[in-house]
Symmetry: C2
Subunit: 308 residues, 2 copies
């Protein structure tokens, strides 16, 4: 991936592929295909890592010259039942250990939805904070940062009671920035008119979460090396396309196919001081049915056109 | 609908049925069925009103002893093309005239989504404000209040760029409260942790739209008669159930079947000083396939149990 434009080349060097984008690839195919395409990082999911073995997966990727940008995912700790809750925390400790084995410093957490029959969103959100308090020191001891991901409000009931960047920051800010950060995923957050303010807040540039009716203020200056770290622990890209499919899980769009101003996002995220991987995470059967190399080539082209 | 509990009876007297909840009923069946059930109001949609004739529909409902809580709906004025925009404004003027003919003071507006190929949400939202400025005096001259409805963020691209109560209030507050209000629909807003603050704002109790991490503050005292009117122009109920169907339009839940704390909503909306109709608007083929009278009886039972 050489490019005559050095800033574009720098951005391309941050491109990471989340493996669920190319579910048709086995882990060895992923390692090989991404290395051939010039990528330096991939995002992994726990189930295929379990199937292959975490240590073997770590070795496979290291040999291919790839790092692991994120491990997806822990979380799902909103249960009220003490036994369910203890099981969820144990599973999250295992996920932290797997992240450490894979050599990634970022474990993505999806909080979980409402317990069956419950209508108590504030209570569920408070149990997320309690779980973070239990897990953050354990993660820190393993060199892993917890990355709390706000999911689109359409998942609030059954998947994730943390629906906005403001909510995720409200939770993360109860902990040291080095221990708990947030995931910025364009698919989940693009509709929110308070986004520019909240992204600035993630950089430490502003405190609190006032409504921001003007979506397009000038980005703040990038953090100086002396600034506290950006609260952004991971940055993921997908486009928003309609109509949504049944269940609304597998309808994400290829970069550039939808409504999201991806470059606007990338510029604002960069302005927070975040300089880490930019991970493409698209769940869509139309990508899984195609040749993986062809899709990855298309992603790189789209990334160049719509993100850099 | 006599009830030994006078406050429950008062709430039941505010129950209105939006006709799309029972799409299987013709307008005469709606008038007859709602009158027999003891309802005092219905919410109407433009297409069936056109098919029957607005004046004839007005007469039919008057004879049945029913008022019209809302007319659904105008809006869809986010087009950039001048000809499309002029056509949308003309259609909205016609909707205002129809509302006046039906004797309702409330025209529900759904703003419209992004124009094809556009990624400019702030621009589309500003065109909503421009359209309101053009239409509000015309509506006021007809005794009609414009009721801007925030729709769930899952509709931001293709249906409604106004996604939160804060955004709707930001737009409405540019105009006199008697001319432009907002619709509070539980289905669209239930996930938002700033809701209590924004509902208080709708009553005039607080200014501005700060993030509200605590969802359950005590409700403010109801407005005194000297207060400015609540910004809430209409209050609609549906429950949130999953999984969402393809297209996410027809998956609303019967009251009590889902995740929404309906009584919490009703108490907070009452506390803004809103004392108007409480309209049940559920789009779900499973209700349309049943006997209308049976469904309406069930709605009244659920309303009594979950809302009063």
């Amino acid at each position: 991936m050489t490019d005559p434009n050095p800033s574009r080349a720098r951005l391309l060097s941050r491109l990471s592929l989340n493996q669920e984008t190319l579910r048709q690839w086995s882990l060895p195919e992923l390692a090989d295909g991404c290395a051939r395409a010039g990528l330096r990082a991939v995002g992994l999911w726990r189930a295929p890592v379990h199937a292959y073995g975490a240590s073997a997966a770590a070795r496979l990727l290291r040999v291919a010259g790839l790092t692991v940008s994120t491990l997806c995912r822990g979380g799902f700790f909103t249960a009220e039942d003490p036994a369910e809750r203890a099981a969820a925390l144990a599973d999250n400790r295992a996920a932290i250990e797997e992240a450490a084995t894979l050599g990634t410093d970022t474990l993505v957490l999806v909080s979980g939805g409402l317990p069956p029959g419950s209508r108590d969103l504030p209570g569920a959100r408070e149990r997320v904070a309690d779980a973070l308090a239990e897990l953050a020191p354990y993660a820190a001891a393993h060199g892993v940062r917890l990355a709390l991901e706000p999911l689109h409000p359409m998942y609030a009931a059954d998947r994730c009671v943390v629906s906005t960047l403001a909510q995720a920051l409200d939770l993360a800010e109860r902990f040291p920035a080095a221990q708990v950060g947030v995931v910025v995923d364009t698919y989940h957050l693009w509709w929110d008119d308070t986004l520019a303010t909240q992204l600035a807040r993630a950089s430490g540039a502003v405190a609190g979460g006032a409504t921001d009716p003007e979506r397009r203020p000038a980005p703040p200056a990038p953090s100086s090396p002396a600034s506290p770290p950006s609260r952004i622990a991971a940055f993921q890209l997908a486009d928003w396309i309609t109509p949504l499919p049944e269940g609304v899980l597998l309808g994400r769009g290829q970069l550039g196919d939808g409504s999201v101003d991806l470059r606007w996002f990338r510029e604002r995220v960069d302005a927070t001081g975040y300089a880490g991987p930019i991970e493409v995470e698209i769940f869509n059967p139309s990508l899984w049915s195609r040749d993986g190399t062809e899709v990855l080539t298309e992603i790189i082209t789209r990334f160049t056109h719509h993100v850099t």
